[in-house]
Symmetry: C2
Amino acid sequence: MASRNMDLSKPPKVLPRVIMEVTHAVERTEMIYNAGQLRIFDRLSEAGRPVNASELGKAAEVSPECYGHMERLCCTLTHLGLLEKIVDETGMKFQNTEEAELYMTTKSPYSLLKLTDAARHNFDIAEFMKGSGVGDTTRTWFSDVEENNKAFKEVFFRFNRYYQKQDAYSKTCLHLLKAFDLSEFKTVVDLGGGVGSVCRALQRFYPGMNVINLDMPCVVDYAKKQEVDQQLDKLNYVAADVFSDEPLPKADLYIVGHFIHMFNDDVTASILKRIRQFIRPGGAILILEKVMEDEMEGPELCLLYSMRMALSSGRGKERTRHEYHQILTDNGFDVPQFFIDNGYGCYDAILAKKL
Amino acid sequence: MASRNMDLSKPPKVLPRVIMEVTHAVERTEMIYNAGQLRIFDRLSEAGRPVNASELGKAAEVSPECYGHMERLCCTLTHLGLLEKIVDETGMKFQNTEEAELYMTTKSPYSLLKLTDAARHNFDIAEFMKGSGVGDTTRTWFSDVEENNKAFKEVFFRFNRYYQKQDAYSKTCLHLLKAFDLSEFKTVVDLGGGVGSVCRALQRFYPGMNVINLDMPCVVDYAKKQEVDQQLDKLNYVAADVFSDEPLPKADLYIVGHFIHMFNDDVTASILKRIRQFIRPGGAILILEKVMEDEMEGPELCLLYSMRMALSSGRGKERTRHEYHQILTDNGFDVPQFFIDNGYGCYDAILAKKL
């Protein structure tokens, strides 16, 4: 393979399919990010009828010579599956697909608009690995948080885009709260609940459930401010630090989503032990993380996350089914049940009873 | 659609598949870009045998605690199809796939390494459409070039990354030079040939063909410097400006690749007329551009390019088969023959005889 003689008198038989596909992927992200910036999805939603590109262009205050470009952008979004195109004698009109209506409009409670912004930023694996320490800033947060909340707090406020992104991700896992029947759990704590997307969904799906959003004090302050700004119903909050010795609230179920994967096995074991202390008899832990296939062959999203976890925490990783089984049973939990969300998503669901 | 009532007591039935797929795409680009930065593909090629992640890590001078991250990155590249994984009793080893060997190594004449860097940059469609004029800088180049070569020359040297990117793209079309039998053409001019990838391929595929690389004077200077730096065989160059009144060299075939799509129909028509003047009787024009499906429904790459052309030139666009037919027959060429490169690529091929 490596010593292949390349015959330059003929075009290569193998074309750069992966490379072109991957390098063009950035442009797809740009299309949906910019469509959000131009409020295309919001305007189509507000209009309540198919709208042509000139009208969208006029509303977005783009120069009239760009109305044609607006039509081109809408055609691209149609191809991607975010708009539907209707052609009649007056030309092309567009409307949101259900996916765009749910996830790309500002007013939707499931809005992922902020994710499309957050997704555009490069990260530097090479620099990180070479230890120059100028990789993704989030890397320092989680090292610091274990030792020094103050440092975390300082960077947190400078980078609250990070939290908006986490919130956008958590919205993509809400359907997984139905993967297991959670109705037996009366008091539920979402550890690292951020601005409360998971807690709000639980309250909707399980009326009467006592739901507590637990996070770092600075995150709780931020979440409460978001609540006031966005006129949301109030949640129960507990400001606590999982790495301190303070007691956590007792609960029947602890949920940890996009959390365990930030830590190496030693730190994860200590977190699981500590959480277990505060789960009532008969209670359980629900882990929301993507589960890696054995041999690290997929799913792709899990491979990508695993690399990102290395970058963002300096020690995190995604785990296989076997690894979750091991770390849970080693730390006082029963054999876990897995719900693998095949074909989609940032998360699978892992439920394990306290032993 | 737009007035859909969202039932918040249930998780949405439609999941954000497109949005998550598209927003994660940036990470795939980062993986292959960073693998290039860490010289993974080069080292596997040089080793001539499967290599494990620790060895790759050591060679790249990453900190030893990152060898595990290196393995994770290699697993991700395996999933993407750029590496092959061999597992034996000593663990995982990796080697380049044929695609990686051809296109991701520095020494390959088909190397696309520079494209993976160029592909990482955001562009701002929304700002461009709103006319703030701070969109992609390339936009000003092609406006300027028609009026003022000096302005073009100034920006050109500041942004020669642009030319490296164009060169990477042109390497992906070399196989299309075999789409039609070009052996009857004795003298061939590649108009806008840049650093000469297409010309070099033509010389290899058609020994004896007289090949001329024609571009702006500043580009020819740059190309000649590249030739010296990289110890390449010398090409025939002509420095000329297609927008001036200077004569162009007579030829049997003019090739224009990633060129026509930068201009609106009026400018394109004038370019075609001017080129036609210098094609000998019996000669032809070979256009290398992606052909848009009718109704602008695809292919995706063509939709993405069309938007980028709007941004980069302020007036460019990709054209349908019908539009190419029209503009060529209106400007003194015979009914064009199309070679549509289904399933792949930045380019299709369109050959039209001079009438």
